[in-house]
Symmetry: none
Subunit: 240 residues, 4 copies
DNA sequence: AATGAATGAGGATTCATTCAT
DNA sequence: AATGAATGAATCCTCATTCAT
């Protein structure tokens, strides 16, 4: 596995100590990477934050880049656990859709700097393709595609939807919309945005009578027809 | 303004020569930045491409970063001219919307590496906010917002649209969707994608009777009512 | 003696285990040093080859350099045993000379990388002088000097030979000649080279009548003289 | 050409200054490399010796290794000039042979540390093969082979000599013999060694009547024959 | 207008070695 | 007997930038 160096500690105490160190380093790396970006971060600074020397960091991680990828993988793993748990408990396609959108927004609000790292330093690099991070990302975004497919199967969504494009419009739209927040400006009202995203996606933007309106109108017409019919019947009765 | 150094050459010939040099440098910088990214590019390499020394580049540009921003501004200016021309000649809100989407896709297809520079190296840096590039970007994305507003004003779109979110879903969705292409993998069918984006945006994804169907139904009801009315009138006439 | 750390284990089983470990380490070190050179080899890599940690290696050897010297001493010891055995069974100065030359060539063919280590990393360092390795090397090269001296004593070689120079021309010549092979290129025909070396050394390069020719010529002259003498005697007899 | 970075200075003054700098760096590098060896030398130390920073060295040389190779090439070039000049003025194969041997010894005596560098750091590395240094070395050693061939052509040397082996025995023998001196111990009597080398090579080591002795012997026999002949003739005259 | 020399700071990575457990 | 964590020093190379000519 790319990332942490292999270790086969015999005793559990040793293993635990090692894992604790790994955590400490990842924690320090996360902070420094978030604050300075990948290029701007110095391994020495990460090490200094733990009170160790650079060499120590390299005992646990192959390279600075491996460290970055591990930091992001940890984060992704946590997010991912959350997602699956919550999603299982929600019924209704639209509600499930909203949950995914809301969760994504919450991830961004919780760790905007990690998002920035992900977008800037990782996703556009050639080594991203094929990395564990990429696999996790695909599993993650696939959840949305699955929910959309459920909606199609249930007859709630049109059958001819371009699912990958929809996925990209939702996640890409969220990221674009959150960009200022990610870059440290402003706030992020994740509930409102989640509602808006779902509304735009589900209803589109065309101004047309809503189904409810049309039904009301239809009911009115039917009532008129009824009245007419009754009048007609009454008239026929007089004649007879 | 950040960018080219101020110069007030006495003779116009001198001025022309200077501008030619600026163009040459920008051209070389564009190539090197695209190939290596910002951090990976060396000013020396850009200079060498012209057969000049590093110092010469600094006679025309304040810094490496200013050079990058200028490169992207040039590119944006060209794109922008195109946009305005084309947009003026298209009628119909939906057609205008599609034109903007299509143009954005075409920009990406024409210069994916510049797009990558823009996303990676510029948009997430603090100095982007407030730069000329940012202003141009806002003018550019504002076109889409304007078209959407026109649609609202014309009654074609709902009045309660969250316009900034829509803008982000469209541009963010396009970028997400084109990311593989931007990173050098695969192809980009800009016509098909433009159609799909516009369709998703305008109609949403909910499976429901289309407005046309509902209107046809309403017309049928009206016809029934007509017939009844006529029968009623006829019956009244007999009675009289 | 530089090299293995002193240890006085109480029980012989412990001692045996320790010696086994020492052998394992030397074996691993030999491989890594040969493949990477001294500077290029990492103690960690040597340790990893045994599945132990770096610290363990330092339990058995003072330093990386001591390890190198020990590796080469082991190799030398093996070679040396061979030499003495074979040499004892060969008669004739020239044959004994050829044996030493051939043996040296065979050592090179068997372990070119160890030779390279010896030449590159050890022989030119100040700590070589006075090391056990140096002593062994001197004993080894002394064999050749001894054989030459035997030849002188037996009247087969000239008495005024510069023995140390001859020794260096033979060993140095062999090493030079084998250098490409030592560096991994080509092959080494040790029988042919041994023949040529001995021939050059024994006969020199001057084109001159060989001793055999000269003796034949002398015999011819003597025969003539004989015949003349007989004729002279016969003539004298007649006169008497 | 590997080594010094390309430069196309317009003005000769600039060119001269650059070349002076190159010389200074090569000079400093030579000293440090000789004193510390290649691995032991730090580029920073070389730079400090000139009062410049490391970066400056890298403006003139691609890498530390390129610097080493250049140092040795300069040295080789100087030696090479000497060789050709001197050799042209010497007649007689044996004298020419001795000149080459003597020159090689003198090179070693003049710059033993550079020799050590050459042997230790360069000749055994894979990048030596095919380098300019290698080409120069081959031209150099070829001179010896040429002289030997001349001797063969003139009938002074045997026709069946293994020339490459001879070359290696001479140069390799010299190096071996000079090794202590190269490593800083003892002195080097280049005249005596040159004589001995040439003597060993030309005459070999076998104890046999020298050609002169044999000729003297032959002359004695001839004299005896003469006397006999005369006595024979006198006797014949008496008889008549 | 261009040169080209020089700077100076930085930064990732490697490794022999030590020591407490 | 072995571990494994930690050290700390060292080093090559890069580069944006400046400035005198």
């Amino acid at each position: 596995m790319a990332g942490a160096l292999s270790a086969a500690p015999a005793r559990p105490a040793v293993r635990a100590a090692r894992e604790r160190r790994v955590e400490e380093i990842l924690e320090a790396a996360r902070e420094v990477f978030c604050r300075k970006g990948y290029e701007g971060a110095a391994v020495a600074e990460i090490a200094a934050r733990l009170g160790v020397v650079e060499g120590t960091v390299y005992k646990y991680f192959d390279s600075k880049r491996a460290l970055l990828l591990q930091v992001l993988e940890r984060w992704y793993e946590q997010m991912f656990g959350d997602y699956s748990q919550h999603l299982a408990g929600v019924r209704g396609t639209r509600q499930r859709l909203r949950l995914l959108v809301w969760h994504h927004l919450r991830s961004i609000r919780q760790a905007p700097l990690l998002c920035r790292l992900m977008f800037r330093e990782v996703r556009s690099e050639p080594d991203y393709r094929g990395s564990g991070l990429h696999a996790m990302n695909r599993r993650h975004t696939q959840l949305l595609v699955d929910v959309l497919r459920e909606g199609v199967a249930a007859g709630e969504f049109r059958a001819d939807l371009p699912l990958p494009l929809l996925r990209d419009m939702i996640y890409g739209g969220i990221e674009h919309h959150a960009w200022n927040f990610i870059c440290g400006r402003g706030d992020l009202d994740i509930d409102a945005i989640a509602d808006q995203v779902v509304a735009v996606v589900c209803q589109g933007i065309a101004a047309r009578p809503k189904a409810a309106d049309l039904e009301a109108q239809a009911r009115r017409l039917a009532a008129i027809a009824d009245r007419m019919e009754r009048r007609l019947t009454a008239a026929s009765g007089k004649n007879a």
